[in-house]
């Protein structure tokens, strides 16, 4: 059988083709999702070169472990973005640790202007709508954790709130966003 053009394959089929060592399938995944992986990594690290490293890691990991993607658990884009976010946060935290070791001042969060960045960042109207439905006390910890790369404990300090409160506000906020996104058809 002639191999189908990678561009004609679904995301799930591309991952299967990667399992068969098809480099054109990996290239197609990169073409479809590389920009999103890069965009998120750059937003979190604030550094283009670190973001490029993140893209390389995420794509090479898909090449060596295509089985790590389980189509039953979500879309390929979500899977790759989760990987991108995890690595970007690792990069931010190891940079902060390095700076602490070297006795350098760690840049302090200047309040959080992230709110405005989120509006630039998020393209889909539904997502912006979902965020805007959240009360401030739920939106702030989600943004600080996700875009600022902070742990919930750090968020608790930044917002002067108990850790338990921050944990439950993040969870409640995500639940509400999930409801709005599901209603608008963004997530299943």
């Amino acid at each position: 059988m002639e191999e189908e053009q990678a561009s004609a394959l679904s995301d799930a089929q591309l991952v299967v083709a990667i399992g068969r060592f098809r480099e054109d399938a990996l290239a197609e995944v990169y073409r479809r999702h590389g920009g999103a992986i890069y965009g998120l990594a750059r937003r979190v690290t604030g550094d283009s070169s670190e973001a490029e490293d993140v893209v390389q890691e995420v794509i090479l990991r898909l090449w060596s472990r295509p089985d790590a993607f389980d189509p039953a658990r979500g879309s390929l884009r979500s899977f790759l973005l989760a990987q991108s976010h995890g690595r970007a946060v690792d990069a931010v935290r190891s940079r902060a640790a390095r700076q602490r070791r070297e006795g350098r001042e760690v840049p302090v969060e200047t309040g959080y202007d992230i709110e405005h960045q989120v509006w630039d960042l998020v393209l889909a109207d539904q997502v912006t709508k979902a965020i805007s439905t959240l009360p401030e006390e739920e939106r702030a910890p989600i943004e600080l954790a996700y875009f600022g790369g902070h742990t919930y404990r750090e968020v608790a300090v930044l917002l002067s709130q108990p850790e338990g409160t921050v944990k439950s506000r993040i969870r409640n906020g995500l639940r509400k966003m999930r409801g709005v996104l599901t209603e608008s058809g963004v997530t299943a």
Binding site: A12, G34, A36, Y38, R42, W63, L123, H150, L174, R178
Partner: protein, 269 residues
């Protein structure tokens, strides 16, 4: 119950922060352990991950030469590991040769397509069927790839079996489908543990490996409290086990499996 003993409520309260990568490494490990056995928490986490991905879903133009740099590393990701590269080349050549299964699958796929043409079933169902066909068709390729990854740093014995033509790969999974161990079995019956995600047991227990032959379990040996890769065992080449399994037994082992079954995997012929 507390997070220390894997308490459900405590883990559940962390799921939102976990989905945002905002938990401490220690907490992440505990959540991961809990998720292996808790489909409810896994489903909630999957939902949160979708939301997080939607939040981070903006597309930036990537630098022009980034793909070239990635492509240049595809075969160089294990510099100096000549054996791995050699095995991978061998697998690639085998794939190029292809086998009968692909043509069978493609003719079945063609039938599905004809069925779609005459409107017997919906386009969505056909798409699903095609995906699942190609997934099953590719299982052995994916397994090979996993084995190649696992082979990195494996013993010479395990690599020799992997390089042999008639070896079989056995993926052992738990009841919720999580892959806990990979074993390679040679045609002469020598086997090696290539990868293990089995949790460490208390000193009073041991993992015990079994082969099912003619519906009867035969002990292949003890894997200890923390199975390490390259653990070797052997089984008579003529035995043709239908599956391998791992149970938890009292330290010292037992003659017949008695303890909980933690992982099982078919030996495909």
């Amino acid at each position: 119950m507390t997070i220390e003993d894997g308490g459900h409520d405590e883990v559940e309260s962390l799921l939102g922060a976990y989905a945002l990568d905002a938990v401490l490494p220690d907490e992440r490990k505990r959540v991961d352990l809990h998720l292996e056995d808790c489909p409810r928490c896994r489903a909630e986490l999957d939902a949160f991950l979708e939301v997080a991905a939607a939040l981070g879903n903006s597309v930036d133009p990537v630098p022009h030469d980034l793909w070239d740099r990635i492509a240049g590393q595809l075969d160089l990701s294990t510099p100096g590991d000549a054996t791995l590269i050699e095995i991978r080349e061998k697998a690639r050549n085998q794939l190029a040769g292809s086998d009968g299964r692909r043509s069978v699958a493609s003719s079945r796929a063609a039938r599905w397509r004809r069925a779609a043409m005459i409107g017997v079933t919906s386009a969505a169902a056909v798409a699903l069927a095609l995906v699942s066909l190609s997934l099953s068709n590719a299982d052995d390729r994916v397994n090979q790839l996993q084995a190649l990854t696992a082979a990195r740093g494996a013993s010479a014995g395990a690599q020799a079996v992997l390089a042999s033509s008639n070896h079989k790969l056995v993926q052992l999974t738990n009841s919720s489908g999580a892959q806990l161990a990979t074993i390679v079995l040679s045609s002469s019956g020598t086997g090696y543990l290539l990868a293990s995600h089995l949790r460490t047991l208390p000193a009073t227990k041991t993992y015990q490996l079994w082969a099912k032959v003619n519906a009867r379990p035969i002990s292949l040996g003890l894997l200890g409290t923390q199975p390490t890769r390259d653990a070797a065992f052997s089984i008579a080449g003529s035995a043709h086990p239908s599956s391998l399994m791992v149970t938890v037994e009292p330290a010292g082992g037992v003659t017949e499996p008695n303890g909980p079954l933690v992982a099982v995997g078919p030996v495909l012929t």
